[in-house]
């Protein structure tokens, strides 16, 4: 009656052989194509290096002014602007300025990459039901797979450093922007689309003049989520050598430095709140035309 208490699993040696052959195959592929893959990601690497250098080498008052300025022009709210200023000053005062700049750098680049890839994919998905049903399960896997797991092949392929970190962050953060672009475009009012057709719009004119602008609130919600998820993965990405606020947290876990972990954790929270509030306020301001309703 052993088969009742033990699940009849695959033979242990066969299983080992299976895992070995997959690992071996992937490793061999990596060895052969590693250079090509690295060359492919070279432009992104340069972008990462450039943005980090820019944020670190520019004198802090200018960066502070820049961040506060962006917060003001995006949100037009002095509350959000003041909150941004106070948060950044506290981060600097507790000596986390440089790490914060590194984190913001990788977050900005990965958000940029996510938007550049995600919006076209979302648009393509909205145009084809077949593509939608093919991409959706992939997105589900990307979002539910524990972050650590896909660090492994990325590290095998590219070693540790900025680019694999960025890849890990993008894989984790890109699903919301794809999903919400697709959803936003599918929700566009059919009558307005019909009007665009009736006036002889080409597919591009339809997309540019009607679909994207009307889907914008939803797309902005996607961008906001993407930013938040990118920040959430910063700590995990620090395990493969991404410098920033995540590294001290990792160090604090290993050595039980409660305060160090807390400070850096709070800095991540602060940056997250700034980006969340500013991008939401900006998205809302883009939609200001829908707020002034006739008769109210």
């Amino acid at each position: 009656m052993e088969w009742l208490t033990e699940f009849p699993a695959m033979d242990k040696s066969a299983l080992r052989a299976l895992k070995k052959s997959i690992d071996g195959g992937f490793r061999a592929w990596t060895r052969e194509n590693g250079d090509a893959v690295e060359a492919f990601f070279e432009p992104i690497k340069q972008m990462l290096i450039w943005s980090e250098k820019f944020l670190l080498n520019t004198p802090w008052p200018i960066i502070l002014l820049g961040i506060v300025g962006i917060a003001w022009f995006a949100s037009r709210s002095w509350k959000i602007t003041l909150m941004t200023f106070v948060t950044m000053v506290l981060i600097g005062y507790f000596d986390m300025w440089d790490n914060t700049m590194r984190t913001i750098s990788i977050m900005l680049v990965s958000t940029f990459v996510s938007i550049v890839l995600g919006i076209p994919i979302g648009i393509a998905m909205s145009k084809s039901d077949k593509l939608q049903s093919a991409v959706t399960p992939v997105l589900d896997v990307m979002q539910t797979m524990p972050g650590f797991v896909y660090l492994i092949p990325v590290v095998m392929l590219l070693g540790i450093g900025k680019v694999p970190g960025l890849l890990a962050v993008v894989i984790y953060a890109i699903p919301p922007i794809i999903r919400l672009t697709n959803l936003g475009i599918r929700m566009v009012d059919k009558e307005v689309l019909e009007a665009a057709d009736a006036f002889g719009s080409s597919a591009w004119q339809r997309l540019k003049n009607v679909q994207i602008p009307l889907a914008m609130p939803t797309i902005m919600a996607g961008i906001n989520q993407t930013i938040m998820m990118a920040l959430a993965l910063v700590v995990i990405a620090s395990m493969i050598g991404v410098k920033g606020l995540g590294q001290p947290v990792l160090q604090a876990i290993a050595n039980q430095y409660f305060t160090l972990g807390m400070f850096n954790g709070l800095a991540i929270v602060g940056v997250a709140i700034i980006f969340d509030r500013v991008s939401q306020a900006y998205g809302k301001r883009l939609q200001s035309h829908s707020e002034v309703v006739h008769g109210k």
């Binding site: 307005v192 665009a196 009736a198 002889g200 080409s202 006739h294």
Partner: protein
């Protein structure tokens, strides 16, 4: 340049001719086309085969420069029909000939050019771009055509002014009332400068007073622009007020086509009789169809044969006489109307077909 020249030529003749048009909605419309042509009913098609019969053997000729109203209750296929004219819906069978070209045979590019230059459309729920200001909505057709921005704006301003929205150029659509939004929709369509204007229940979403107002705006514009207008409505008063000719649709079929007077005087069946039973006949029936021959001795005033009975009644009551003379377009007196026959024609509703000869034999 070549296409521009043909566009100008077509403007002179933008009549619409619909021949043998069928539309079946469902997965395999062609499969059931022959059965429908052989007389399968809408109900049978729907219940047995899960396909919906949208339009059945539509034949209509719409003269250039006139207003053709298509009337019917919801589900009668009127919105489907108008969408065939600019092919927002593809037909299952049949031809739609606009200004000599069969819209159904156009390829993608020709169809796009046709929609850009030959037609414009006004929608029931306005279908404005909510993120664009009034002026940027009105330029839309011209923008799509690739007209230079300066001309887009000057044209748009002209039409915004023409529909009475000056001063609202920079407002967003949902800052405006429904009536004003539809003025934007109308200006957008007119700015396109297309000879064929398609109006799909354009005023149905408006309050009655605003609706009357918009009808006046449209009639006023039409007297000057002389476009070919296809106007869809479910409102018989609107149909009679606007339509040079009216086609009545039921279950995807045209059941009567004619002038407003034809339809009021000779309703083809009970369905239409129900439609027209409450209309103000004095504003529909022409003096021509009721008058007696020769002048009347009491008459002091003269009115035209294409005036309505209401005009005749007003003239008589103003002059405090019981008759008025009727002239043709050259001013020659061709007949007269007396008070009795005018009132009889206005109030007589039941048994219009019952002439004295039809009285039951004693």
């Amino acid at each position: 340049m070549g296409s521009k020249a043909t566009a100008d030529m077509d403007k002179k003749n933008s009549s619409v001719e619909i021949r043998g048009l069928y539309k079946i909605f469902g997965k395999r419309p062609q499969h059931f086309l022959q059965a429908v042509k052989d007389g399968m009913s809408k109900q049978e098609l729907q219940e047995q085969h899960g396909h919906v019969l949208g339009l059945k053997d539509i034949n209509l000729t719409m003269e250039a420069g006139s207003i053709q109203v298509v009337m019917g209750l919801s589900g009668s296929g009127k919105s489907t029909l108008i969408r065939h004219i600019n092919r927002l819906i593809d037909p299952t069978a049949g031809e739609v000939i606009v200004g000599g070209q069969d819209v159904c045979k156009m390829n993608k590019r020709t169809l796009r050019d046709f929609r850009r230059h030959e037609t414009a459309m006004v929608f029931q729920k306005f279908a404005l771009l909510p993120h664009r200001t009034v002026i940027n909505n009105v330029v839309y057709g011209l923008e799509v055509q690739g007209v230079p921005r300066a001309r887009q704006e000057s044209e748009a301003r002209r039409w915004i002014d023409r529909v009475g929205l000056s001063g609202f150029e920079d407002n967003f659509p949902n800052q405006l009332s429904g009536g004003m939004q539809q003025r934007v929709g109308l200006a957008r369509a007119l700015a396109n400068d297309a000879p064929l204007l398609l109006m799909d229940e354009a005023f149905s979403a408006l309050d009655p007073l605003i609706r009357m107002d918009m009808q006046s705006v449209l009639l006023d514009l039409q007297s000057e622009l002389k476009k070919t207008i296809v106007f869809i409505t479910h409102d018989v008063d609107e149909a009679l007020r606007l339509g040079d000719r009216i086609a009545i649709l039921r279950d995807g079929e045209v059941i009567q086509e004619g002038t407003g007077q034809d339809i009021v005087l000779e309703p083809a069946d009970e369905y239409i009789q129900n439609f027209v039973k409450d209309v103000n006949r004095g504003r529909v029936i022409l003096t021509e169809s009721v008058m007696s021959d020769g002048p009347h001795e009491d008459a002091v005033a003269e009115i035209n044969i294409s005036d309505h009975l209401e005009t005749a009644a007003r003239s008589m009551s103003e002059d405090e006489v019981a008759a008025v003379n009727i002239t043709d377009d050259d001013g020659k007196v061709v007949g007269h109307l007396d008070m009795e026959s005018t009132v009889a024609a206005i109030v007589k509703q039941e048994d219009r077909h019952t002439t004295p000869d039809d009285k039951p034999a004693p």
